[in-house]
Symmetry: C2
Subunit: 493 residues, 2 copies
Amino acid sequence: MTPSGTTSGGVPGPAGQPAWELLLPAAGAPARRRGRALQEALREAVRSGRLAAGTRLPSTRELAADLGVSRGLVTEAYEQLTAEGYLRGERGAGTWVGGAVRAGRVGAATGTGGAAAAGPGGRDAVAGAPDVRVDFRPGTPDLSLFPRSAWAAAQRSVLARLPHRALGYPDPRGLPELRGALAGMLARRRGVVADPERLVVCSGVAQASTLLGFVLRARGLRTVGVEDPGSPEHGRLFASTGMETVWLPLDGEGLRPEPLAASGVRAVVVTPSHQFPSGIGWSAERRAALLDWARTIGGYVLEDDYDGDFRYDRAPVGALQGLDPERVVYAGSVSKSLAPGLRLGWMLVPEALLDEVVERKRTMDLGNPVLDQAVLAEFVTRGGYDRQLRHCQRAYRERRDALLAALAARLPGTEVSGIAAGLHVIARVPARFGPPERFLARAAEAGVALRSLEEYGTARPSDGDVRLVIGYAHLSPSAVAEGVGLLAGAVGA
Amino acid sequence: MTPSGTTSGGVPGPAGQPAWELLLPAAGAPARRRGRALQEALREAVRSGRLAAGTRLPSTRELAADLGVSRGLVTEAYEQLTAEGYLRGERGAGTWVGGAVRAGRVGAATGTGGAAAAGPGGRDAVAGAPDVRVDFRPGTPDLSLFPRSAWAAAQRSVLARLPHRALGYPDPRGLPELRGALAGMLARRRGVVADPERLVVCSGVAQASTLLGFVLRARGLRTVGVEDPGSPEHGRLFASTGMETVWLPLDGEGLRPEPLAASGVRAVVVTPSHQFPSGIGWSAERRAALLDWARTIGGYVLEDDYDGDFRYDRAPVGALQGLDPERVVYAGSVSKSLAPGLRLGWMLVPEALLDEVVERKRTMDLGNPVLDQAVLAEFVTRGGYDRQLRHCQRAYRERRDALLAALAARLPGTEVSGIAAGLHVIARVPARFGPPERFLARAAEAGVALRSLEEYGTARPSDGDVRLVIGYAHLSPSAVAEGVGLLAGAVGA
């Protein structure tokens, strides 16, 4: 990682020395909260333009001393913001404000922290075929974790307090109280720039894709780029709006810039926080490169934050949208955190597209049901949503660990990746258990439903290894172990 | 009304004498229910083809004697089915099975009775502008009549009983239990052919319009006919799908056949039960002529049954869809019967369009929220929906009567039409209170919000009379009287 050409090679930027003490986290707060406050303050300073691109930051030692906090806390903040693309650094040369962020925008902006929710748009409803004993297909959370009593309490409360007029034709953008609640939650958990005026409540990421597709098609776009590997559902949704999809190759860091530039597309759909299906997190360079591309050609990025809520072994990476809310449409939903059947989601829309998206939402359905929106607003505002995420996070980490242990024990040599986050992993089973066709056929015979990675892209490796996309979140630890056991038995492991 | 050329002029049809006793309503049932049962049985016999077009029916005297029921009950059944287009009759020449119905279809079919619900698609959300004292703009029911306790009870019950898997990605067509409940209710109340397999749950008539528009546009249609006068919202919704609208003139009986045929459109949107905004009910001839047109050219009709639930002085006229479910898309919603904010509606779709409509619904939003659907299913199944309609019907009739009385007293000479049904009337105020521009300006100054009929079509009469579309359902009787009083004072009446 090197400073970009526009920075002055580590020299303090033209803004002069910022008042670092303004970054001081509240004294007396626990270390974890102070670390988070520091990250939020730094991120906001970069966004607002108070820290201009190229500004050199103090060393971690200096800033820690200035602020009276531990050096580890400052180091962690620098690393986190570097991963997100706000800062750049090089060993021995210090840390600068990067050029990725679009500085000087309006709108509130805070935090990092947890993760946001989204639905991949019916990517894989788990079918309950009678001969399926264990279903490893990804796409559905554990529906038994839906917080029925808390939801029922919120429903009661809403029906008791909502004024009559709220039952009329809704604002197509969504209920103001929900837009406010979501904006706060997303800024805090996902590091997005969440202005309630730019937030449009929709029925999920699928509808967000269709809304954006129609708007872009009306502007003359005919193609949209999708990640390869990626979700074929994105392509189907955009196809319904008259847009053709172009597969764009990924490597281990994200979308490769050259094929993107050569493709001629002016819009892309990406999953940078936990790429679907590969499970990688995009590198800071690739995040910055994508935004550079979008700014240069006036293009748009749809960020499908489909499982940003679930992180197990590391701090969450803030959403791409935080770096440039004028080029990135951010979309998420409650489909993974609560239930897909609620059909509730959100999008944060660049100013230039907002009116068109809202008018399209209006003609599509006049807006989402108001009672559901009021219930979610209450749930978020009263802390129920955060509690639900903590609860799911614990459950899903346990299941992931059960999957990793079972694969290690029963299909030794299997490489598992994309494990730090989300509701699925990629498993590469050694060729000696293959070849892939035979492996998948035996699994099906044994009642184990599986998805091959090949179903999600154009790559057809010939090494004989079996590449699987394994969803585990909807299965109990014992069902996970049973499924891997059935699999191992079926392929003679 | 004369027998059509295809009937044998009053001679019994080729099917021979039907077994009239099969039409016998259950003995011992109260007269009202027996009358209804007779109507349902006759309608079903015509639909199924058991009573072929041209079949001459027994005289009312004969059939009443055969069935052991009162003659009045048979007369009423004949009149009702003649109004709906199933039968034809001529004084002195008897009654025949008409040619309008498409006989021999599959699918359950029953009943007449109440009326169905629909939303005109955000036609007129009543704005609460601060200077508006009484708002007569049509489009919203009385939101304070929403049955909060009963709805809350249904919500509780649903959350307690719904299986976990029901919370997953929904069937885009809708929850099976709701589709079944709605099919039964609509067949009974609106006389539609309501096969649950053809019923698609959607967010209301607006979404039904958009769904159909996209499907027809993909089939190459570029224009859709709308009633003149009619709702401009239909045009806006179809425009969002790439279809241009063509105004088609109405007269006192319905859409005029010649301009329709000459227009070149292959699809139309109509409101035959209580035309919006004129308030007329289409005549049986015009219903038949529209269906003839659709069959001849392979066209489609969207029937917006936006206020079919509300009838005050006469039996409801069955929906057009009952006459030909392969040419008519029937759409309705709970927007007038419960609340627009619920965003819940339904469409009955011809077999030939079904797959395309469902796939379009899927890409638009993956389907409606499941909890709401389950709550409505419970509400309909347990009788709550019928109770709600009875309750609203009583309230709205009282308000309509208050409006008629106030207009007669304070703006004498005003002609009011379209009063038998719905949530609005047409008032033609004599020119001496005008001219229209002055009338509307004075009304606005006095804080009375009004819609002129001119806003809903192309007609610009020059007689100086003031033609208004007055919505009354959302106003208490005293507010109605106050509004008319303000109006009369403002225009010097």
